[in-house]
């Protein structure tokens, strides 16, 4: 392979990308060396098994991915503003909508939410870490290296271009030769390992490590949403694993699963993909529901209305989410009966979702609402998300979907649920738990600016797309006809509004780090659940003494009784896991193996795989039992952080 085949050449935008990658990397290396921070990076971050730090790394990576996916989006919007634009060619446009979709769902939405779960769930249930801290670090590095693998494709080898759904036969070896599609397959596969492991890890953590007395139906609602999500992850992700593996075997080893030759079945890919894919959209929306429930209860200063109904509707949604996948390809021609069955099951999902909407409204009803930035995101979520739900039901009517399918109407639908649902929740959750994570709030005034820019930009961008879709504009086209221009211009303007909102949001992180007053007690919002019982900054062991729980909103009753998580009479030495660099190294080696497989260098890939197995063997012989934090040290730490 020649060097100019290895690197992507001939695209000025991509040369620009290369230059900025080199610049940013050199700047980072320079800064780390100049400030002598390499040791710090290794000891504090790369080798950490602390769920709070891992969560922060997840969120930082997700923000970076949001930036990347956002730049993709803006480039697409520029290209679609006017007819006959020459900003992106057809090929480049195809690559960009593929990477945009994949990055946003797999490398932005999921890791962002998993990052919040990492930080919050153990704190909410009174646990000192995950059930398997080593595995948790492994999960993070698997996601991180998977994301890296997927992202290098645009400078090395070329990006995938068959859509985030990668339908065969288009995505097969015959019609998409070269490494592009392999980057998709192996990047997702690598990150998928970590997602499944996190699912198992969180499920065991929640089932086994709750504070004494906390029954399942006394868990904070975000923890509940996480538990339900882990259930979906565990039952959906293996399907993706298999689907990706089969396509990889097709492409690299010449099997005939999804091919047009050898009696292969291209539509089987669509089925497998959506048997994972629809549950996946609920993996990214249920935690969002959980976040909004927490925020609404906190700032309405009321107990969440209909707690049990909220939980049961999530469980119902999770179950139904496995029974609707065919609605993504009603037009495949499965026949009237099949389409009707899936049409009905699809519309059924709107029922438990509606229950949740009314519960939020009832929580807000007659309450004294505190309009904070986090609450603004939650309040905006409710009506915006309902619009996405309504178009969802419209799309769910099989006969009507023959008209809507693959048009901009569909694009509008899923952006209304994914942005107004998931992305708003990520922002809201970050703002809400920010003081717990970093010891200071994000600035409220700047936060509100960023909220309004983003919210208005969002509606300006996506509302017109309903109509241009009904006017017949299909998705995944790289140029428009003059009739569609006015609405597309509006849409592009809105997209830039969202871009401004995002930039303000990120600026706010910097501004608040410099200027926000530091938290003096751990309870930044007068919260109700246990995460607010810990002092800020949270000691690495979380709870000096684990409280006894006897009902919902555990921290609220602790406050009434004047209890804290530092009861000097009950202190005992705390057992903690040791840091380790092995998850990082192991996943680094697997990254190497996957990279080799992308280019079909089988020998090198085998070497990498053997290296990974050796690392697993070494892990098996590791009997490191962690260490104890002694009572005196706990006392010292607690007194400093509590200012006693």
């Amino acid at each position: 392979m020649k060097l100019d085949e290895f690197f992507v050449t001939g695209e000025p935008l991509i040369y620009g990308g290369m230059v900025s990658i080199v610049l940013v990397t050199s700047a980072a290396i320079f800064l780390l060396t100049y400030l002598k921070r390499w040791g710090w990076l290794w000891q504090e971050w790369l080798t950490t098994v602390d769920h709070k730090k891992i969560g922060i790394m997840y969120i930082l990576s997700a923000l970076a991915m949001l930036f990347r996916g956002g730049v993709d989006a803006l480039m697409m919007r520029i290209q679609l503003t006017f007819p006959n634009m020459n900003f992106l060619g057809a090929q480049h446009y195809d690559e960009i909508f593929t990477t945009h979709g994949t990055v946003m769902i797999i490398f932005m939405a999921m890791p962002f939410l998993i990052g919040l779960m990492n930080i919050v769930v153990p704190l909410q249930i009174g646990a000192r870490d995950f059930a398997f801290p080593f595995l948790n670090a492994l999960s993070f590095w698997s996601f991180f290296f998977g994301a890296m693998l997927f992202n290098v494709s645009f400078v090395i080898g070329g990006s995938p271009d068959a859509g985030w759904t990668s339908y065969t036969p288009l995505a097969g070896a015959a019609l998409s030769p070269g490494p592009g599609q392999n980057f998709y397959l192996l990047g997702l596969q690598l990150a998928g390992i970590g997602t499944l492991a996190t699912g198992i890890n969180l499920m065991v953590t929640i089932l086994k490590m709750r504070a004494p007395g906390m029954k399942l139906f006394q868990m904070p609602i975000f923890t509940w949403s996480t538990l339900v999500t882990t259930f979906i992850i565990i039952f959906a992700f293996p399907i993706l694993t298999v689907a990706l593996a089969l396509m990889t075997i097709d492409r690299i080893f010449g099997a005939q699963f999804f091919t047009l030759t050898g009696e292969g079945m291209p539509m089987m890919w669509a089925n497998l993909f959506w048997m994972w894919g629809h549950p996946e959209v609920y993996i990214v929306i249920l935690p969002a529901f959980g976040i909004f429930s927490e925020i609404i209860a906190t700032f309405a200063r009321k107990q969440l209305f209909g707690y049990k109904a909220m939980v049961w509707s999530m469980i119902l949604i999770a179950g139904l989410s496995f029974l609707v996948w065919v609605h993504h390809f009603f037009t495949m021609g499965a026949g009237a009966l099949v389409n009707s069955v899936f049409s009905v099951s699809t519309m059924l999902i709107a029922v438990p979702t509606g229950v949740k909407i009314f519960n939020w409204l009832a929580t807000l009803y007659k309450s004294r609402i505190q309009i904070t930035t986090a609450m603004l995101w939650a309040l905006a979520f409710i009506p915006s998300f309902v619009m996405g739900g309504v178009t969802g039901v419209m799309l769910g009517m099989a006969a009507a979907d023959y008209q809507f399918h693959n048009s901009y109407f569909l694009i509008a639908h899923f952006h209304y649920v994914l942005i107004a649902g998931t992305v708003f929740a990520c922002f809201a959750g970050l703002v809400y738990w920010y003081p717990k994570m970093f010891g200071h709030k994000m600035n409220e005034r700047i936060g509100k600016h960023s909220f309004w820019w983003f919210l208005i930009g969002f509606h300006v961008c996506f509302f017109p797309q309903h109509f241009v879709g009904l006017d017949g504009m299909p998705r995944r086209i790289f140029t428009i006809i003059p009739e569609w221009m006015p609405l597309n211009v509006i849409s592009t303007v809105g997209a830039f509004g969202m871009g401004v909102g995002f930039v303000i949001f990120v600026y706010n992180i910097y501004y608040s780090w410099k200027n926000s007053p530091r938290e003096t007690n751990g309870d930044a919002w007068d919260g109700r659940t246990l995460e607010w019982a810990t002092p800020t900054p949270v000691p690495f062991y979380n709870f000096a003494t684990v409280p006894k729980v006897s009902g919902l909103d555990a921290f609220l009753s602790m406050k009434k009784k004047g209890e804290t998580t530092f009861d000097e009479t009950k202190l005992e030495a705390i057992h903690m896991p040791s840091n380790t660099g092995r998850p990082f190294i192991m996943m680094g080696i697997l990254f190497f193996a996957s990279f080799a497989l992308v280019f079909e260098w089988i020998g090198l890939a085998a070497v990498g795989l053997i290296g990974t197995l050796i690392m697993m063997g070494i892990r098996s012989f590791d009997y490191d039992e962690g260490y104890y934090v002694e009572v005196d040290e706990i006392k010292k730490i607690e007194r400093t952080v509590r200012g006693l």
Partner: protein, 201 residues
């Protein structure tokens, strides 16, 4: 992490860590069930799509598959005996039965490799048709699992010799035994729905 301990019951359940690991592994097996179900579904969908390649009925041989089934079922039984010995506190019994289990597993793998090579000679390979792709990937995934299980158990044998029986080693052995029985269950499904049906259709 939790350090709660119990002083009665089987070793592997005496620490909170052991209990969590075992629960986590059960959940992992749940995910494995989904993984194999997907492969079975794929196989079922692609059944009969042999294109120009030989039909399964012409290639599958009752003798070999019966032998494989016998080996694997017996190994599950001996694996159970190994755990029985572990519970009774007999390190020697545990090691002996574990080695017998692995030997049976190796025998199974030997037959499987022979079988695959034989089919390839007859013109049925991973590449020859959708049906054969599905067959090799389904049976092969099971085979790879068995191989990994053997490698894993060998590492545990070394640790047993080094450290004897304690809550950690017995937890590890118990988990590997769960894995082994699980592979046996999967094989029963492969035997019936792939080989038996493939031979008569």
């Amino acid at each position: 992490m939790s350090t709660q301990e119990w002083s009665t019951g089987p070793y592997e359940y005496r620490t909170q860590e052991g209990r969590m690991t075992i629960l986590g592994f059960w959940i992992f097996l749940g995910a494995e069930v989904v993984l194999f179900s997907t492969l079975f579904a794929t196989y079922a969908v692609l059944f009969g799509r042999t294109a120009d390649a030989p039909l399964p009925g012409d290639l599958f041989e009752p003798g070999i598959t019966l032998a494989m089934t016998f080996l694997l079922l017996t190994s599950s039984f001996t694996c159970g005996l190994a755990i029985h010995n572990m519970r009774a506190g007999s390190l020697k019994g545990l090691i002996t039965w574990l080695i017998i289990t692995l030997a049976l597993g190796l025998g199974f793998l030997g037959f499987e490799i022979y079988e695959f090579v034989h089919y390839a000679h007859e013109g049925a390979t991973l590449q020859s048709s959708a049906f054969w792709s599905a067959f090799f990937v389904l049976a092969g995934t099971h085979g790879v699992h068995v191989t990994l299980g053997i490698g894993w158990a060998v590492l545990l044998l070394i640790q047993l010799v080094q450290r004897g029986l304690n809550p950690v080693t017995s937890r590890k052995v118990f988990v590997v035994s769960l894995y082994w029985h699980f592979l046996d269950v999967i094989w029963i499904f492969i035997f019936t729905s792939v080989y038996l049906i493939g031979m008569v259709v």
